[in-house]
């Protein structure tokens, strides 16, 4: 399936781009993160499970168990600091 992946703030800067489209067979947001981590630097550091990385599926906060659908949008970002 086709998944649009978006990165924000410090994670976007570390990875070097704000979005990409990935064709994949994985079914959850957590598995997608593992797939990206396996790419090595800079993904390995930016999305490390040692860091507070928040995730969203179709613009709602989710956890790693959330199920991907074709043409969905997944986002990875650091803790938010608005207001």
């Amino acid at each position: 399936m086709k998944v649009t992946v978006r990165y924000f703030a410090s994670i976007r800067e570390a990875i070097g781009h704000g979005s990409e489209v990935i064709e994949t067979d994985v079914t959850t947001v957590g598995a997608l993160r593992d797939l990206l981590l396996a790419r090595g630097t800079p993904f390995q550091e930016a999305l490390s499970t040692d860091r507070a990385v928040r995730m969203a599926l179709n613009q709602s906060v989710c956890d790693g168990a959330a199920h991907l659908q074709d043409n969905c949008e997944v986002a990875f970002f650091p803790p938010v600091t608005g207001g």
Binding site: F8, A9, V80, G82, G83
Partner: protein, 157 residues
């Protein structure tokens, strides 16, 4: 119920927004507002400017959801949220949260609830330019605790 959110780079006029929020609604007896501004110092370092990034679409969606939650919890007539993005300078206004109700208690509470929620749930990120270079602002554990007071457990940090 008047609920509206704007994400914008332009400044806002608080008096105008408050007047709009309660216009033609004679039930209103209380208008409570909060304005967040850019401090000249953060964690001991001088801040020369601040850049605000957000997640277009999710920002509006998350703030609308929190206003709907506030409307369920508190007896309010309207709420207005404005959050600025882009480049800001010390003393600039960043955020407005305003709420109307019949009596002050509900609008005070709803206003604080909305700010606590926004701090930990709305996808905004601040980057400060300081004398020591540019840095992303760290999220605070105290903000998660502030939201927990309302019975909402989240882990932003």
């Amino acid at each position: 119920m008047r609920l509206s959110v704007s994400i914008q780079s332009e400044d806002f006029d608080v008096s105008h927004e408050l007047a709009q929020l309660r216009a033609n609604d004679a039930r209103v007896g209380a208008v409570c507002s909060f304005v967040g501004t850019v401090r000249e110092r953060n964690e001991g370092t001088a801040v020369s400017s601040m850049e605000l990034e957000h997640y277009p679409g999710m920002t509006e969606k998350s703030i609308t959801a929190m206003m709907e939650e506030a409307a369920k919890r508190f007896d309010i007539y309207g709420a207005r949220v404005i959050h600025r993005i882009g480049l800001l300078q010390p003393q600039d206004q960043i955020v407005l949260v305003a709420v109307t109700s019949a009596h002050r208690g509900m609008s005070f509470q709803a206003c604080e609830f909305l700010m606590d929620y926004l701090k930990t749930q709305a996808p905004f990120w601040k980057k400060e330019v300081t004398t020591e270079g540019a840095r992303w602002v760290d999220a605070r554990v105290s903000d998660d605790k502030a939201l927990a007071r309302w019975g909402i457990t989240v882990k932003n940090v």
